[in-house]
Amino acid sequence: MNDLITILSSTISAGTPILFALVGDLIGQRAGIISLNVEGCMLVGACAGFMTAATTGSLLLATLVAMIFGGLLALCQAFLAITRKRNMMASGFILNFFAVGLTTFFGRNFLGRSLGADFTWDIPILCEIPVLGPTVFSQDPLTYFSYLLPILAWFFLTRTKSGLLLCSVGEAPEVTEACGYHPKRIQYAAVIAAGVLAAIGGVQMSTVYTISWANDMVNGRGFIASAVVVLCAWKAERAYIPAYIFGLAQALQVFLQVKGVPISMYVTMMMPYLMTLAALAIISISKKPAMPEKLKIIS
């Protein structure tokens, strides 16, 4: 029972930052732009968010500041990839490295700072449920928001006019244009939304998950999030699967070692990637993923 609680809470905390970045980049990719820069946005969000939270003690303010900075970095990507029509992968890479440099430089004074605040907020009544209570329902507001995020994104993308427009840009921008809309503006909005959501993931990571700011703390999570969009077949409601598979794998990586299960430690270290690969294989065999048309041209 306790083991179950351990694994479940580790899975949720490790998977949530990825879930944010994943949904963000998914929205961007539906509009035809791959935002490899979500890694950088997470980092900027983590840094700016931690700095704000450590000085003001407010999670809401931290999230807002992080969203602004994440959005600004995403704006650079949007400008390069949409207006200047650069290779969006290359510009994403550069922005990631840029973000590492910026956050390491400006976050220096906060490396030794404590947050001094606990953002955990138990949901009354629900937190009494065995197993689920202490794991799923005794988290922080950002994690609760992440539970709803894929559903909200699904509703937005498939049930609202703006969402459908956004998807149409990813499929056939000339049709969107013929209908009297500006495909580029929609793409800008999508890419910035991707950055903003990723930045929230970053805040969650620095203020709730690891409770500290460290140089380059995102360490490839955003990159993975951007890649595993494939795994949910560009459907927002499936974003839970890759994010929590990755979280579960990281949880198990440690869990198997703590329990002394005789598996090579290198296999456990590979596990997040092996499990993602296996999931990709299963999903690819069963169905052909519905890739946005615009992305096919790029790759």
């Binding site: 351990t6 930052p17 500290s212 360490n219 949880a251 070692q257 703590v258």
Partner: protein, 367 residues
């Protein structure tokens, strides 16, 4: 093509700028001995200097050198452990460093080549090796003594009888550390359990958090990391109300009440050697030692440790200095029951560094 031509033109412009500039470099050393009259010392790090761990310990080295020897110290961070290191050192030498201090084992081989090429520069490296000789010296602070003391302290301090260890990759230093830690703990409570977890990275804060939380869930109430970045582990331990050690540097100020202690790279033994070198009396040294040589030490003890236990810890440290205790003195038994060191045998530093198994009592695997 036109653009290519333009780029070339700009390059030529830059080159001509250098031509006017490069005459000013003068020769520094003239007493003949390596590092004589040095004004600059270059420290090459594998990570960034503000990690409160291994690389942070060189900041205190730099402070001591600038204060006591009076020469300037420059850092080069994030140097990968491959051949690119050679270029970095050449740049350091070109900018006037005549004492070079590489810190990682991956630099050793290239340091050898560089030392041959630059006989006027003194090289001091930390890991033990047989590349040394001539102007390439080794200053190896042994980890086992502080980690043994930490183990004993942890065993006394722990209430659950379970200790956690978060390793990175099984390099010799980490293996020595976890083994010495366990032996130290067993010297106090023979049946204590050490849970060892390896994350596979030196600074992934997410994995550190997960490891820390799961070890605490499994009942560990003292966590000892062998990681570069310590901050996250201190914060998680603080939030879960357990205590933790640091690694390779004194980061007591991070959180005095969660902090227990750490194995610290100490420089008391190195500074006199460096002074001699700067004075023009370089001698190739191969120093290996711990407390008594002033190359490794126990960091500040945390606020939550009762005074009585602090005294006991310092007494243990003293008895290691007095040679009453030898950390890896046999019998040392491996996890699978095989004998690593026979009863009464006192292994050398090399033999300790070559241990490739975990000792009995550790719950974890090296494969």
């Amino acid at each position: 093509m036109k653009k290519l031509f333009a780029c070339l033109l700009v390059l030529c412009l830059c080159l001509s700028l250098v031509a006017c500039d490069s005459a000013e470099q003068g020769e520094a050393a003239n007493s003949g001995k390596p590092g004589a009259g040095a004004t600059k010392m270059g420290i090459i790090l594998g990570g960034s200097r503000d990690d409160y761990g291994f690389n942070y310990s060189f900041v205190s080295l730099a402070e001591q050198v600038e204060e006591e020897v009076g020469i300037e110290v420059v850092f080069k961070e994030n140097v990968p452990q491959n051949s690119d290191y050679e270029g970095v050192v050449e740049e350091l030498i070109a900018q006037g460093c005549t004492i070079i201090f590489p810190t990682q084992f991956g630099y050793l081989e290239y340091t050898k080549a560089l030392a041959d090429r630059h006989p006027e520069v003194a090289f001091y490296s930390i890991p033990i090796t047989d590349y040394n000789g001539g102007n390439f010296s080794t200053i190896h602070g042994e980890l086992q003594e502080p980690w043994y003391v930490m183990g004993a302290l942890a065993a006394e301090f722990s209430e659950t009888g379970k200790l956690g260890f978060i390793g990175s990759m099984p390099i010799p230093d980490v293996i020595v550390a976890v083994n010495a830690y366990t032996l130290g703990a067993q010297s106090v409570k023979p049946d204590i359990e050490v849970n060892a977890v390896f994350t596979g990275s030196w600074a992934d804060t997410g994995l550190q958090t997960t490891s820390c939380n799961q070890l605490i869930d499994a009942g560990c109430d003292v966590i000892a990391p062998f990681q570069d970045t310590i901050k996250t582990i201190v914060e998680i331990c603080d939030s879960r109300d357990v205590h933790c050690f640091g690694c390779n540097a004194d980061a007591y100020e991070l959180n005095p009440s969660t902090w227990l202690s750490a194995c610290e790279n100490a420089w008391g033994g190195f500074i006199p050697v460096l002074k001699e070198t700067v004075a023009g009396n370089y001698e190739c040294v191969d120093m290996r030692g711990g407390f008594e040589m002033g190359l490794s030490d126990i960091a500040t003890l945390g606020d939550d440790i009762p005074q009585e236990l602090k005294d006991k810890t310092m007494a243990l440290r003293q008895s290691i200095i007095d040679d009453e205790i030898h950390v890896f003195e046999g019998p040392v038994i491996a996890q699978d029951g095989s004998v690593v060191f026979e009863e009464g045998y006192k292994p050398t530093t090399e033999e300790i560094n070559l241990i490739n198994v975990l000792v009995k009592g550790i719950n974890g695997t090296l494969n």
